[in-house]
């Protein structure tokens, strides 16, 4: 057994203390033959500190495309020649999306908008939309609307939004290679306000943007410092027309190594499989991840791409004897 896994067994599994940056890097550098042991340990850590439940979430785009920011992976930036057209979802469709999500047994519904931060039109749509969902659908509402002002944070709390997603996307040292229209620190500021408001913090990112293995470890350590309630882990799905449109996808074993390493850095967080798992890991990846530290999934479609049908993910959870977290357990 490699030394780092022995260390992690005591430190993370027994004592619940996450690995630091050097420890994460050692896991990311494990040779293939030790990957199964790393995944098994990450799975044990998840079972010990989080339990067998899996949190299921659905997401929808309230405002798609035409974003003024330049995140190089994103097909919704208005600055690239992406085929994604700008469009708003109306309130009845938003409620319908929440109903489709609830029908899968999911407890979380996240409303996402492609913006730098909300303007009055978006906040109004949120007020009406969240109220309509809460009146008709039994599900917790989360939001992801970019950078916020304090007044907007307060208003989201008042609407009953219980969790806010704002991804750091990548580590601090690599961020300027991926985004030039705002800074990593500005994102961190929004996260600090969200945390102080009492909303749950959801913050993750995308692997495969061209960052080094060292920078992947740096990112895990920075997330661990933030200590979010949830970390969504995406793998780059290169989008036509974006500056990263020609990048290779993350190799499957590297993706699994990262899942194990992020779990060992953050034993108690909700570690969610988000976008790109189908592309990077194929059909088997979902199972491997759920047995390697992942304890949450996005079911159904994503914002601009499609996911596996919810049924196949739910059938897999049943086969793995991992119960879907119930609403009563989350309230």
């Amino acid at each position: 057994m490699p030394e780092i896994l022995d260390q992690a067994r005591t430190q993370v599994l027994e004592n619940g203390v996450g690995l630091d940056e050097a420890g994460v890097l050692a896991v990311l550098r494990l040779p293939d033959e030790h990957l199964p042991a790393a995944l098994q340990l990450a799975h044990d850590v998840r079972m010990r500190w989080c339990g067998p439940e899996v949190e299921v979430e659905g997401i929808v785009s309230l405002k798609t495309g035409g974003c003024p920011e330049d995140c190089h992976f994103c097909s919704q930036s208005g600055l690239f020649a992406s085929p994604v057209r700008s469009v708003w979802l109306d309130i009845p469709s938003l409620v319908e999306a929440a109903k489709q999500t609830a029908a899968t047994g999911a407890t979380e519904f996240c409303i996402v908008a492609a913006v730098r931060g909300p303007d009055e039109r978006l906040m109004k749509q949120m007020r009406e939309g969240v109220a309509a969902i809460r009146a008709e659908v039994d599900i917790q509402v989360a939001a992801s609307l970019g950078m916020l002002t304090q007044a907007q944070v307060d208003e989201l709390v008042a609407m009953g939004v219980h969790r806010y997603n704002h991804n750091l996307e990548t580590c601090r040292s690599y961020f300027p290679n991926v985004v030039t229209t705002h800074s990593w620190e500005e994102r961190w500021e929004t996260l600090t306000m969200v945390r102080a408001s009492g909303m749950e913090v959801c913050c993750g990112g995308i692997l495969g943007l061209g960052e080094t293995v060292e920078q992947r470890a740096e990112f895990a350590a920075q997330l661990a410092e933030l200590d979010p309630h949830e970390v969504p882990l995406n793998f780059l799905n290169p989008r036509p027309g974006t500056p990263l449109g020609d990048r290779p996808v993350v190799e499957g074993r590297d993706a699994l190594r990262a899942i194990a390493a992020f779990r060992l850095a953050m034993p108690r967080t909700i570690l969610r499989y988000a976008g790109g798992r189908e592309i990077t890991l194929g059909d088997l990846g979902t199972r491997d991840g759920l047995l390697g530290g992942i304890n949450a999934v996005i079911v159904g479609n994503y914002l601009t791409t499609l996911g596996r049908p919810a049924d196949s993910d739910l059938a897999l959870l049943e086969e793995l004897k991992m119960p879907v977290k119930a609403l009563s357990a989350t309230l």
């Binding site: 929808v60 085929p83 057209r85 469009v87 479609n301 994503y302 914002l303 919810a310």
Partner: protein
């Protein structure tokens, strides 16, 4: 893509004369983006369990 497709609904290039194998594979996990009859970019809305794509000229397609 239907048999009457003139344009690839993923990349917007002529359907004939080029191999759109990658596009076809990608389309299993993506909605269409271009109208296959007129090449206009469509307004696409994705919900957790389905999608719609609308061409101003040729109307709505759904999953």
């Amino acid at each position: 893509m239907t048999t009457t497709a003139i344009w690839c609904d993923r990349c917007g290039e002529p359907a004939a004369g080029a191999d759109h194998g990658t596009c076809r594979t990608a389309r299993e996990l993506e909605p269409p983006r271009f109208c296959s009859r007129c090449r206009r970019r469509m307004k696409v809305q994705i919900l957790p369990a389905g999608w719609t794509a609308t061409c101003v000229e040729h109307g709505l397609t759904r999953s």
